[in-house]
Each structure stands twice: as structure tokens, then as C-alpha cells.
Symmetry: C2
Subunit: 444 residues, 2 copies
Amino acid sequence: MSDEKRKTYKPVPISGFPEWLPEIRLVEQGWMDHIRRVFESYGFCSIETPSVEALDVLRAKGEVDKEIYVLERLHRDEDDDSEARLALHFDQTVPLARYTAQHFNDLVFPFKRYQMQRVWRGERPQLGREREFYQCDIDVIGVDHLPLHFDAEMPAVIYEALEGLDIGRVQIKVSNRKILTGLCGALGIADPVPVTRMIDKMDKIGADGVREGLSALGLSSAQNDSLMALAQIKTRDPETLKARIESLSLQGDDVITEGVAELAFVLEQLRHLPDHAVTADLSIVRGLDYYTGTVYETRLLDIPAFTSSVCSGGRYDDLAGSYINKHLPGVGISIGLTRLFAVLEHHGHIKAGRKSPADMLVVLPAEERRAAAAETARALRARGYKVELYHAPQKLKKQLAYAEKKGIPYIWFPPFEDGQGHEVKYMTTGAQITADPETWTPES
Amino acid sequence: MSDEKRKTYKPVPISGFPEWLPEIRLVEQGWMDHIRRVFESYGFCSIETPSVEALDVLRAKGEVDKEIYVLERLHRDEDDDSEARLALHFDQTVPLARYTAQHFNDLVFPFKRYQMQRVWRGERPQLGREREFYQCDIDVIGVDHLPLHFDAEMPAVIYEALEGLDIGRVQIKVSNRKILTGLCGALGIADPVPVTRMIDKMDKIGADGVREGLSALGLSSAQNDSLMALAQIKTRDPETLKARIESLSLQGDDVITEGVAELAFVLEQLRHLPDHAVTADLSIVRGLDYYTGTVYETRLLDIPAFTSSVCSGGRYDDLAGSYINKHLPGVGISIGLTRLFAVLEHHGHIKAGRKSPADMLVVLPAEERRAAAAETARALRARGYKVELYHAPQKLKKQLAYAEKKGIPYIWFPPFEDGQGHEVKYMTTGAQITADPETWTPES
């Protein structure tokens, strides 16, 4: 063996592909469990799609601006040409569209699904912009029509999901693209896309920057004033929203009226959330061109290190037109889990968990007590505890040191001799009491 | 929109990359939750590694016989050559070795980890041999030394994990490679590898086939007799095992003696399992050359459709010698989850779950009752129920039909008018009773 024992390749981290130590992974897992629990509590079902799609599927809507990874088999054989070219998915929306089209007849609509998988983008890696990362998505898909109910459900779900992660106060900003699009129409702006893109920069470059940018696009100062007045509206009260829009004297436009009514409905349904949790913010437009109504962004109010949107999404008119001849409107939102987690971890906001999930270490007093100690461990496991049985009859000090290094909070001492009882030691306080494996609880 | 509405690409399933409808996914998810719960109940911690490794890491031990997928960026830029070539991992053992080497100083040993991720192999796809599949692995890694305790823990964990999946009786077959290797040595067989490979075929070609195969390898009939006598030993009783080995008059060999003692120890620790659950089977050797002691295979006794091993593994001398100058012995076992699940699903052994995780649909009686109905849904969610609020004030019949199609078992009727009470309908029995959202339980 010694000949082979030389180190042949020293592994180094791969930029953009994060991995965590067990004590950090435990926290990530806790996040994912919590998010899943919230998603399911609103009736979203889980789906998973393959990590790959046919390249033709990914490009069915035209060239993709994301950096796509394609797969090549290292040892290809002659019949490879007959196979479709496969690529790793870069989001979960295209796979959802393909899945919904492919399984259309087997799904019940409105189709409420969540999806928590890794996605891949070959971008230049940096903190908060990993190449492999988890996204946690919820979407609801209707056939021909999808009630506004779901537009209002999204922020409620997301608030509950994020609020449980111990990341401070979360604020979901909501807008409706119909309002801004309608205003552009009313103002006679032929191509609203560059205008909405500029307004989307409000958070980054400020109101003055946007005003300048709009002028540079050739807008008159009257147009500019109208747009800026709209984009600066922020309120969580639906009546205030309506009043402020009315004060802009734009109410003649049907599209605007529809957008305002939709946005007011969404705000109305979110009255149960805390004051800071939600606000209409008319500067929110989202860069993606396929949103047609409600749009969302999310900010962490107490963690300035995280400046971008934690979680974004919106309403779209037609999910899967590239794959099926059905009109499938939907609304969805996505938590960029790994990106959020990695940034918070980097800035010290993630408090490491334990190095073991075990609640308890059962001590092995001596080789001849092995069967009895194992029996004790099984009894405790049967009661729902996570229990490690120590692996060798070593000195007690060594067994305790192991539990301490792994952060295991309780040490269980099975009888060291026949006729003795059990004891349990609380590592936090050092207290040690007699206990019965069939009845003990941490509160004993 | 109508111009774009034409179907541009009809998606088809990609061979070897399975995906499930929500009602099947629910079962897969239940399996994974159960397996994870069992793994954690024995103190295994979760890790996840990136889906990719540097190709040099995957090949550090020499050429790999698995079909590897390498990644290529669709739009490469000029500096791509500076980046390491990345490939999807084909198992979780190589990533574990790399992880353990890379994070050696931050881990506590014995390091008990579980890992449940997708792996990829570009093999010719067929049922039970997918190209993308989940594996559920547990391994324990020691430094310089790893107690036999863990060799005995593996079958206990795996039995509990598989036994909860509603797949009938499970049998774990255990052997120890030292016994067969020692016998080959005692018989003067210079190269034991082809001999052990032949014996490994016992299940497939039967005792006569193996005997013929051994003769074809040039073994004398005395050698053949000894090997066959050993390979046909099957017992779950450690004393019987020792007696049967002794009756072969091989006890002079140290390696054999050591192997028998180890195997007897493992059997001894598994006395708490049911009779069918475990057996020593000396014909089990596992093809992989790196196993050095205990080896495992697992069979489903009640599902003849699944003929191969559900779950295999064993003890290895040196996990990460290719990456670090440490001696890291380990023992591990892996459930081929997707391969098992896909075969059982194909043969009708998977009973589809519901199309929604929701326990309950809260009816929306009328638009003006929306706030009250939403409040009821929240109250029920706060008590741990998974609750969908119906999305529009449609006819009751339509709302019930939706719940029925999704398989939601309880329908909650909030007050239709002020002053009325709540009612709940049990979809299985049709019974409908008055209920209080703050106190109702399904047993009410």
C-alpha cells in the first residue's frame, strides 16, 4: 500500500461551486426544510425535473442570454450523433414549462408546484453569483385564466418562508407592470422597454439618476415628470395607492386602471402581514420581458450586505407557448437560496450548527456491556431521538471529548454494571441525573 | 401574442433521465425523508458536494470505467483554457474522498456522513440503469484506525431505512473479503481477483456454473472444492459460521481467522434484527477491488422483479490516498434509490400518492367572505395543517371537484354568513360535522 500512498492530486475548491462544512450544511438544510414546509402548507406539490434539458428545449424561445453548460460524454461512441444535445438547466421556469406541456393531461389545474433544485450558469463566478446554486421556486399555472388570488398568495408564502430563516426583517415590494406600461402608452412612448429598464434602476442609481437616464432616452420633461411621479409611489395601503394614482390624473387609461385594481387587490389580501413586510413600489418592474402584471422583489431590511433582491418573480401570460398549443398563464416567485446563503455566510450572518445531528451520545462502558448499550441506543431512537452509540470502550474522558467536539448536547450513561440505573448528563449545564430511556425527555 | 403561440418544439422524455408526476414524486419524497430520518437517527451528518469535480480529481486513481459527462460552456470566452475541466460526479465516494482530504482539519473523526444527491453516468440507458439518479450513501471515516463497530452499524441502519419503504422483506448479505482472500493464499492461488470475480457470480450462474468457471481458470479440483465449500456457507448465526469454517480445516491461516472473527462480530451485533433480515453469505465478494474486509449486498425477498443488489458497500483501507497523505480507513454503503424506485414504479409496486400535499381545502363561499376564509386557512396552517384556500368564489360543486381531483381529504367550510359556524367534510366517508378551526383534529 505504501507505494500508492503518495499524494497524487491536491484538491482545491472550484470557483463558483460552493460546498459547506457539516455545521454550515446543517443550517442550510434547516432553511430548506423550513421553506419546503411553508410551501407545502399552502398546498404546493413538489416536482423535480432532470438536471438537463434538450438544448433545443432551452432555446425554443430563441437564443438564451444565460451561460449554458452542455454535456459531452468523455468517451463517446459512434451512435452519439443520434442523441439530442443535453444541457444543464439554468433556471426552473423553462423546465416547468416543458414539464407542464409534456404532462399536460395528467396535471390538475390550477397547478401549484414548488421546486427546489440546483441550477447552473457558467457566468464569471463571484460571491452571490455562483455557478451552481439552489433555487426555491413556487408557481401556479392556470389554463386560459388564472385568478388574482394567486398573485396575492405569493407574497404571503414568501414572507412566511423567509421570515423563519433568522435573517432579520424582510420586505416584499410589489408592483404591476400594467400601470407603467399603460402610462407609457398614455404618454405616447412607442417602445416602453428601455424606459422600464431605466426605472428599474431606481434602487441603484437613485431618482436623479433615473430622471437623467430618461432624459437621455429622449423623453420630454412632461413625460419624465409623469413617469417619475408614478415610479416614486410607495405605500402598502390599497386606498392610498388608488388616491395617489388618481392624483396623477391618469385614470382615463384602461390598462392603468386594471393594473391599479390588481395591485390594490394584492395589497388588500396582505393586510395580515406586519407593517414592514410588504409595500407597493411602483419603481419595481423586473428586467425580464415576459412579466405582464404583478411583479415582486424582496429586500432584507436589516442586512445591508445583501443589496440585491433575495426573491423575485411575477405574473406571466403564457408559460409554455413554445412547447404546447395551450394558453397557460401563471404567476411565480423564486428564492435564490444559495446566493443568499453564501453571501450571509461570508458576512458572518450564519451561526454554525452542530457538527452532528445527534441529540445524544450513548457511552460504551466496556466491551462486555456492548449489547446492553446498543439496546439502550435503540430504545432512545425508537422514541424519536437521534442517537450515536460510542464505537469503542475507550476512557470516558475520550468519549465525552468526542461528544463535545461534535456538539452533541446529551450524554447517556447506560448501566456500567448489572443492577445499576441509567444516567444522563446535560452538556450545557454539566448536570447529571438518573433517567429512564423509556420516559426521559430533555425537560426531565 | 397569437403569432408566437404556435408550438415550436414538442418536448419528449430524455432517455435515462426520469421524472415523475406529482403523485409519484410524493412517494419518492416520502422515501427520501424516511431514509434521511434513519440516517440522522444514528448520528450521520449531511454533506452535499458540488455536482461537478475537476476531471483530474475524478481520474486521480487512474482511468475510470464509468462513463463520465464533462461540461462545456456553450459560449466559451478566450480565458476558458485557464479553467480546470469539470465533470459531473459518477458516484459520491470520490467526492467524499476529495471533501475529506480538502477539509481534513475541520472534520471530527470518526467522520459519519450521509449524502443523498444525484449522480450521472453516460451509460446506455435502460430500466434500472438511468443516466441521472439519486444515491443515498452513508460512510464512516477514521484516521489510521476504524473500529469494527461501524461495520456492524451499517446493516442495522440500512435495514431500518429500507424496511420502512413498503417494499416487502429486505435481506442484507454480509461477508468478509479476508476469508476468501486468505483461502486463496492458503491454496497457493497467486492472483485471487479472477477467482473472486467468478465466485461473485454465484447468484447469477449458480454453483455449477461457478465450479465450471473456476476449473476454466485452471484451478485444481481440490482448490475448487475448498473454494466452493466456503462460498456456499450461508448462516446468520456467528457460532454456526465459526463451526462451519472450522470444519473446512482452514483455521491455520491468520487472514482467514481475522476475517471470520470480524464477520462473527458483525453478525453478533445484528441479533436484534428479524430472522430474514441478515445473513452471512460467503459468496458475496463485490466486484470493486478496493474493498478489503466486510462487504454487503442487499436483496428484496418479496419482489422478484428486482434481481440486483438494492444497496451495496463495504470496508476499505484507504479512502483518500490520492488526495492527502493520511491513512483514512472507512466503511460505507449506498442505496441506489432512483434505480430501485424506477424499477418498482415500472412494475406497479409504487402506489401513487395524492396530487397535492394539502390536508384540507378551505372553501371560498363568496367574494365578500374572502378575508374571513383566508383567516380560517391561516388559523389551520398555524396548527400545522397543509391548507389550500380555494381561489375563486365558484360553485361549491366545482370547488369540491377540485379537491377530489387533487385527492385532498378534508373540505373546510368557513361561515357562509355572519353568525354561522364552521363545518368540515371528510371526503373518504362523506360525513360532514361542525368544527372549530382552533381545536379540530381529523379524529374529531
